[in-house]
Subunit: 147 residues, 2 copies
DNA sequence: GCTTGACCTTACAGTGACTAGAAGGTTGAA
DNA sequence: TTCAACCTTCTAGTCACTGTAAGGTCAAGC
């Protein structure tokens, strides 16, 4: 099976398979006499594993660890669970960030009539006081405001 | 005021200010005789606007549009609201994606005992059937599975 | 006048995870 | 033989910075 078929079977684009090989996530594929990469059932399994782990948001580096853990019959499940826990914590942080953005935006949108008139509370909000700031930086800034 | 002070007052790092200038998000700053960039109150305002819009997740290009709209006294608030609406839709898509990942991960974690034993449902889940797939690609893949 | 240190300048490389495109070689079927 | 559909490598682009190198400027203190 060459790269296109492996791509279709695994759901990982051919270009991405080459990329994964180039960064060492997967080992170099066997080659035909003319240089075409050759893949087998096991390679497709690996690619599918990678695809799934990536779709859960693990970084390529984390997928590398997961892959090593997957192949290591003596690993403890605690290690894997830890990786997953960190991933969930990361997701939670991102979701909280998005929720805050959403909150601010929808609030701004509610007060914007959104018609042909030019005054717009959204722009006013963006132009007003900082939405989030670092107080130490602001103190220093205040001292320089007179320049 | 030079770039460091403008950075502290606006919350945008000096390097990032230079970057914004280089990509044309903000106009080129005035310079002293020795080549130092000089900023005024209005520039800091602009930088702050940019900082806030970026923190709400607008891309640099979108911030450019927002900035143009901000400066255009004749713009309609509908345009701005549209940009905000699209941004909220984008946030919603991202949040849904994250929620799905979280769901899958926590489910996998629940069934993983996470101790020193080597069998791990998380890895099994990753190695099993695709978590999400494209049926057209899969049909084509099935035809090639025998290679 | 000189040194020191904090500031500033440019230019280039690197990040993550691909993705696009160019230029060319291989394969299998009509 | 010709053709499309594959495959190959290489380079560069994406996004929004961030890091680093190598050097110039400025103000204060000795």
């Amino acid at each position: 099976m060459n790269i296109g078929a492996a791509a279709r079977q695994s759901g990982v684009p051919a270009k991405t398979i080459r990329y994964y090989e180039s960064v060492g996530l997967i080992g170099p594929a066997d080659r035909t006499a003319s240089g075409y990469r050759v893949y087998g059932r096991q390679d497709v399994e690996t690619l599918r594993f990678v695809q799934r782990a990536r779709s859960l948001g693990f970084s390529v580096e984390e997928v590398g660890s997961l892959l090593a853990l997957w192949r290591d019959r003596s690993r403890s499940s605690a290690e894997v669970k830890d990786l997953a826990r960190r991933r969930v914590a990361d997701i939670d942080r991102k979701m909280a960030e998005l929720a805050e953005m959403r909150e601010t935006l929808t609030h701004l949108m509610e007060v914007c009539h959104g018609d042909a008139r030019p005054d717009c509370p959204i722009l006013q909000g963006l132009a007003g006081e900082p939405l989030a700031t670092n107080s130490a930086a602001r103190r220093k800034a205040a001292a320089e405001a007179a320049e």
